[in-house]
Symmetry: C2
Subunit: 510 residues, 2 copies
């Protein structure tokens, strides 16, 4: 006869159940990666069925009533919860956070959202192609209506607003007021900077961005860079997809992608630096915490800070290009031989107001985000009707970037997010820029001669610093607290503006 | 208020449940493919957890008591079961077959087998490396003991033997006596042929197999061939793995692999032709029956007949090489320019008795299989002790192939199968060779100038014929019946021997 297994302690049973649900979600994640990179075209229908099955099962697993019971037992165990930043207390707190949110939505609403997202995405694609907002309007109206109801189910503290309830999925603890408090000064200083750059004495060369370089050579080049900066290929992959992303299943299997255009190696390189930043965050999470909040990324804003730091603070720095410029000839031969250091460094730092967010430089980019944030916030608050979006959009583009939007395709129809119900998401991009500048400034002051190391192709000190200061904490501290803990200060627009001004003014002869 | 959904009819509910279980199994299958082709090295531990979770869930889904209830209801519905080859009757019959087998094994035995397989595989690897059977012996003894118990749980008809009960997983309806009835005459005629070839006046050139050709060129070459013979890349992929295999998730997402050796393009080509055969069978199953027996392959023997047909009957034919030989220069330039038609056709058809099964030619290959079949059959019947395997093995190699086995590594330790508990599997390889010859002979008589079409690079008539005659039936007919239905005759050694003699005698000047 077998010995009866001793019953698990509540915390251990809780972790076991949560890991089961995460494990299933990690399988979903692999299926998504495969769909974007490997799956043959005709596999799509069956793949949807596979994804729906896993989504249903992992939702069931993550909302088991037993999890609720165990949480109550853990929360009542004062020994376990004593130190609020201990592994157990953090896991219990964050599992509670996720469990409550997941169990708060009625199944009908979740189904309705899945259906609306699917339709919305389809209709949005057609409307964008025809540059006709009126075709998309009914879908978006239904979506805004649904999201307002969803925000009610989620709830938000007194003094808050519907946007806050939704943003909690992306940037926990961050409210519209918090965002506005840092976006307002940012906008003012950015507008001043953009004006000055436009009037600058110099213009960086665009020669590098126009060079035709074979894709096979670009592939070897960006893989080399990814390896050098510290993305681990024993625990990751780099592949090709239409839109670059970072996926995979857990910290030991992180999969990033990029895309290649023959006449724009900077696009592939920038994407790889960016996704490596995301990927190294994931690889920096601790193996011992896989499948629990302590082994998960804290917020999209912090995630984006890692990608932006490697893409911008590192990958568009003079020191980085001093290292990489002489290597271009090794990968591209004579085609790149005539490029000067100023060509490549300048080419990576061109600032130009334009219509499309995803093609924007690191300065104007934030203006695109502010416009979207203000519009979605007003929509969710009931202060802006969907039918008035194109007008509001175009007015803001004129005001913030001095641009006259020619059509909806290059205006309010350019982004996929709203069609899929992602509202409260956009600001995480600019929060990422702000966090990245503030955290990097601290890294520069902590690590002796950090920029000098880049010149020698040494990136491990920065990676290790980020591993310790940011990655290893998982969800131990909320993003805003983590920022204070790492940098000693609350998030502000200052470091990003210091960084942009410090770099761009000399390039533009301001 | 919503209208209440009408209750599903028993057959429809049965199919729904079975499809759910298949869907989950198809996700497992994708994870396996990914593990062999894409997964970074350090991902292996997490992947095992993912696979174990899916295996547990899909087993639960496939053995739901509700399936048993619904089966009884369907079986009692004389209208539904009237025509035994109708879709519904076939599905009910085959679901019953699978359900009974799956529910017959106690959970402890399944767990024990999983554990033993895992250990066995590990221990076998070490023992093979050291060429020391005594290290593997205890594992194999436990495994044989377990498999004999497993065979009892499965059960077999009176007059049968334990081997039959296990082989049912691979070649349903096929008994050891059936195998022996066709292997005995095959062995006699093969031995005669091998003797004659060895004494033949001519020897084919080995020049083609020794050519050094860059892997990148080989990749383009084999992909071209795969496309030309009819493997559909919109519904499939071709990648690289250590051991070539055919995987994927369903008929619209079929993934084959090969491997490349610089000095053996025939290895990559043969593997691709072989896996394309498997792949085109999978792609030939009907989309409307995905996830049900009617949309599944009937047996491993029939599956192997498809791979062997494209690898051997097509890919080692004079007409195939008449088409492909002039194209070698396009892919390999002057490196292949000096090869004559006789070099390439002869090089694809060298017959030589040797120790390793997976490297064997299409004639001697069957001898390797017979030896394994006889040994595993005797072990399961209790007529041969595990400790006596090396002796029995070496004796048979001497007798069947005239070879003196130098060590266990090149002897009874060469194959992975037994370490993982796969007994009853080996004969499906030779059944595949037999079926392929018999079915191909019929195709040649049905399709005007079939071989002449190969010379012009036209392969679609054969594929379409196989689609209709074999693939579209799924599991409608048991393998032996399918063979009779397609060829008009029961399986026999005659067509394979006619094919081998007809091709090899002229090459060897017999």
């Amino acid at each position: 006869m077998r010995a009866r297994k001793p019953a698990l302690k509540p915390y251990d049973e809780l972790i076991k159940l949560v890991k089961e649900a995460s494990l299933m979600a990690s399988t979903s994640s692999l299926l998504s990666w495969d769909q974007e990179t490997m799956m043959p075209a005709k596999g799509v229908e069956h793949r949807s069925s596979q994804m729906a099955q896993l989504a249903r099962l992992s939702h069931e697993m993550a909302t088991l009533p037993r999890i609720g019971e165990l949480l109550e037992q853990c929360e009542g165990d004062s020994g376990l919860m004593k130190d609020a930043t201990s592994v157990a207390a953090v896991n219990a707190r964050e599992i509670r956070h996720d469990y409550d949110r997941k169990t708060r939505l009625p199944a009908e609403l979740v189904e309705e959202e899945a259906r609306l997202s699917s339709t919305g995405l389809h209709v949005w694609r057609g409307a964008r192609q025809e540059s006709d907002f009126s075709k998309f309007r009914p879908c978006l109206e239904s979506m805004v209506d649904l999201l307002r109801r969803k925000a009610k189910y989620y709830g938000y503290p007194k003094g808050g607003e519907p946007w806050d309830a939704l943003a909690e999925d992306y940037e926990p603890g961050c409210t519209a007021k918090d965002v506005q408090a840092v976006f307002a000064p940012l906008r003012e200083r950015l507008q001043k900077l953009l004006g000055e750059l436009a009037a600058g004495r110099k213009k960086p060369s665009n020669a590098f961005n126009q060079l035709k370089l074979p894709v096979e050579q670009q592939q070897k080049f960006v893989r080399f860079v990814a390896e050098q900066i510290g993305f681990e290929f024993e625990r990751g992959r780099l592949d090709v997809s239409t839109h670059p992303f970072c996926g995979g299943t857990h910290c030991n299997d992180v999969r990033i992608t990029t895309r290649f255009k023959e006449d724009n190696v900077n696009d592939a390189l920038g994407s790889v630096m960016h996704e490596c930043g995301h990927g190294m965050y994931e690889q920096g999470l601790l193996t011992e915490h896989i499948g629990t909040p302590m082994g998960s990324a804290v917020s999209l804003g912090i995630h984006e800070s890692q990608s932006r730091m490697w893409e911008n603070q590192v990958g568009r720095s003079r020191q980085f290009w001093k290292w990489l410029h002489p290597k271009l000839a090794d990968f591209f031969g004579s085609a790149a031989g005539s490029l000067t250091m100023e060509d490549v460094y300048g080419g990576a730092n061109i600032v130009k107001a334009d219509f499309i967010r995803v093609e924007a430089d690191e300065a104007t980019y934030n203006m695109h985000i502010m416009i979207r944030f203000e519009i979605e916030r007003a929509m969710l608050a009931g202060d802006l009707n969907v039918k008035d979006i194109p007008g509001a959009w175009n007015k803001k583009y004129k005001e913030y970037l001095g641009l006259t939007v020619p059509d909806d395709r290059r205006g309010c129809l350019q982004d996929v997010h709203w069609s899929m119900g992602s509202m409260g998401y956009f600001p995480t991009y600019t929060l990422g820029n702000l966090y990245s500048a503030q955290i990097f400034e601290k890294a520069v002051s902590d690590i002796p001669d950090l920029l000098g190391q880049f010149e020698k192709g040494r990136f491990s000190a920065l990676k290790k610093w980020l591993n310790t200061k940011v990655h290893a904490h998982g969800r131990r501290y909320p993003a805003a607290d983590l920022c204070k803990k790492v940098t000693g200060k609350a998030l502000s627009a200052e470091p990003l503006m210091r960084y942009l001004e410090g770099k761009l003014n000399p390039i533009y002869g301001v």
